[in-house]
C-alpha cells in the first residue's frame, strides 16, 4: 500500500461522500415535489430557483434547534444509534462500481469503485444486517414505549426481509458465478440484464429492499399515527437530522445496489459498437449508472405516495408466507434452468 494508493482511495471516498450528501438534500426536495405532483399541489417553490434550496434551509433550521436528550435515556447509546445508521448507509456504497472503464490518475489506472472486494454481495448483506442496530438501539435507549415498539418492529421486520433479500440474491450469484460486483455487472453486457434473466428475483429483491430501507408501504418502525413518530420520537436537532439523512442515504444505497445487481449497473447496450474514446465511454457509463439510480429513486418515492402502509400482521405474513417461498422457488427454478442449459 503506497501513499499514492491511499490518496486515490481517499479522493474516491470523498467524492462519493459529497455526491451522496448533495443527492440526499435534493432527494428531500424531489420527495416533496413528487408528493405535491401526486396530490395536485405545488410543493416548495420559495427558497432558491423553483425551491431548489429548500432542503438546505430545512437542514439549517434543524441544526439550530435545541438538542434534547430525555433524562431517563441511556445517553451514550442514544448518541451512538444515529451514528450507526448513517455509517452503515454510507459504507455500503464502497463496493458499488459506477463505471467499467478505468481512468488515469497520478499515472495509475484507477478503477471506478472504492473497494473491489471479491465478497461484495456478502459485504452488502452483512452491512444491511448491521443497519438494524441503529433503529433498534435508538428505540430502546430513548426509554419511551412508543420508541421501543418502533425499534422492536424494525428488528423483526429487517430480520424477516433479510432472508428473502439474501435468497433473491442467490439467483443472481448462480447466474453470474461470482460474488464480486464488478463481475456481476460485466456479466450483464448488452441486454442480458439480471432483471430479464431473474424477473422473479428482481421483484422479491425490490420488495425486500423497500422493507430494509423502511420506506412506505413498510415504514412501520416510524408509523406516525400509531407510534407518535416511532424509533426517533425522542430525537431532535442534529441527531434527528442524522436519522433523516440515513433514511435517504439508505434509499440511494438500495437503488445503487438494485441497479448493480439487476439493472445492468453501468452497462450501456451496444456502446462498444461505436468505438468511442475511453474518456467518453467512462462519462457515458457513469451517466447510465446515475440515470438508472435516479429512476429507482423515483420509483421509491412514487410508491411512497401511492401505496398505503401495511398492518403489522400483514407485513409478517407477506415476509414469511409469500416472499420467502417465492424466493426459495426462484432459487430452485434457476438451478434447474442452469442445469438444463449447460
Amino acid at each position: 500500500m503506497e501513499f499514492t494508493d491511499i490518496l486515490i482511495s481517499l479522493i474516491k471516498i470523498i467524492v462519493m461522500f459529497v455526491v451522496v450528501l448533495v443527492t440526499v438534500a435534493e432527494l428531500v426536495y424531489t420527495e416533496r415535489k413528487i408528493s405535491a405532483w401526486i396530490q395536485n399541489r405545488i410543493g416548495p417553490n420559495r427558497v432558491g430557483w423553483k425551491g431548489l434550496l429548500q432542503p438546505y434551509a430545512d437542514v439549517i433550521k434543524l441544526l439550530l434547534k435545541e438538542d434534547i436528550v430525555p433524562t431517563a435515556a441511556n445517553k451514550f447509546i442514544h448518541t451512538l444509534a444515529p451514528v450507526i445508521s448513517i455509517g452503515v448507509a454510507f459504507s455500503t456504497l464502497a463496493v458499488v462500481p459506477i463505471a467499467g472503464e478505468t481512468i488515469s490518475m497520478f499515472g495509475r489506472e484507477v478503477q471506478m469503485v472504492i473497494a473491489d472486494v471479491n465478497i461484495g454481495i456478502l459485504y452488502i448483506l452483512a452491512l444491511t444486517s448491521m443497519g438494524v442496530y441503529g433503529l433498534t438501539l435508538s428505540g430502546w435507549s430513548s426509554n419511551n414505549k412508543y420508541s421501543l415498539l418502533g425499534g422492536l418492529r424494525s428488528s423483526a421486520q429487517m430480520i424477516s426481509y433479510e432472508l428473502s433479500m439474501g435468497l433473491s440474491v442467490i439467483g443472481v450469484v448462480m447466474v453470474t458465478g461470482s460474488l464480486q460486483l464488478t463481475d456481476v455487472v460485466t456479466h450483464q453486457a448488452g441486454w442480458m440484464w439480471n432483471m430479464v434473466l431473474q424477473p422473479v428475483g428482481f421483484i422479491t429483491f425490490v420488495v425486500a429492499a423497500f422493507a430494509e430501507t423502511n420506506r412506505t408501504p413498510f415504514d412501520l418502525p416510524e408509523a406516525e399515527p400509531e407510534l407518535v413518530g416511532g424509533y426517533h420520537t425522542e430525537y431532535s436537532s442534529f441527531k434527528f437530522a442524522l436519522f433523516f439523512l440515513a433514511e435517504y442515504a439508505n434509499m440511494i444505497t438500495a437503488s445503487a445496489v438494485i441497479t448493480t445487481l439487476y439493472l445492468g449497473g453501468w452497462q450501456v447496450p451496444y456502446l462498444e459498437l461505436l468505438q468511442l474514446p475511453s474518456g467518453i465511454v467512462v462519462a457515458l457509463q457513469i451517466l447510465a449508472f446515475v440515470v438508472k439510480v435516479a429512476f429507482m429513486l423515483f420509483v421509491f418515492q412514487w410508491v411512497r405516495w401511492t401505496v398505503p402502509r401495511f398492518r403489522y400482521d400483514q407485513l409478517m405474513d407477506l415476509g414469511w408466507k409469500v416472499m420467502l417461498p417465492i424466493a426459495l422457488a426462484n432459487v430452485i427454478a434457476t438451478g434447474i434452468v442452469i442445469l438444463l442449459i449447460s
Binding site: 472486494v117 471479491n118 465478497i119 456478502l122 438494524v132 433498534t136 430502546w140 428488528s155 423483526a156
Partner: protein, 173 residues
Amino acid sequence: MSSELIVFLVLAAVAVLSGILMITRANPVNSALFLILNFIALAGMYLTLNAQFVAIIQILVYAGAIMVLVLFVIMLLNLQDEEPLRETLTKRHYASLLFALLTLAMLIEAIGWMGGDTLDRMQQQSPLAVANGTVQHIGDVLFSSYVFPFELTSILLLAAMLGAVVIAKKRFP
C-alpha cells in the same frame, strides 16, 4: 513493525478489551454491544489472515443476526442492571482461577513467551493461504471432500428448526 502487525495488535486490543468489558458490565444491553464489538474485531482478524469468507460470515451471522435476536430478547424482557449475587469468594472461584492460570500457561507454552516469532511465521505463510480463504475454495471443498458432514449439518439444522416450530406451536393450536 510491519503494518499487518500493527493492524493485528489494534484488533487484538479491541477484542480483549471488549471481551473484558462485556463480562464486567452490569447493564445487559451494554454487555451485548461489547460482544458485537468483539465479534467485529474478530472478523477483522480473520481478514488479516486472508479468511474473507469466514470474516464476512462472522459479521453476517453472529454480529448481524444472532446478536439482534439477543438484543431483541433483552429489550422485550426489559432487564434491569444485574445485582451482585454474593460478595465472598467461594471454592468455585478458586477453581476457576486455577483453570484460567493453567490455560494461560498452556497458551504461553504453545505460542512462546513473546509470541513474536510465531507472528512472523504467520506472515510468511499467509501468501500461500490467500487462495484458501476465498468463497470459491470453500465452496469447492464443502461440496467435494466434506459433502457428508455438510449435508449432515444441514439436516441437523432443519430438525432443530422444525423442533422449534413444533414447540412454539403447542401453545397456539
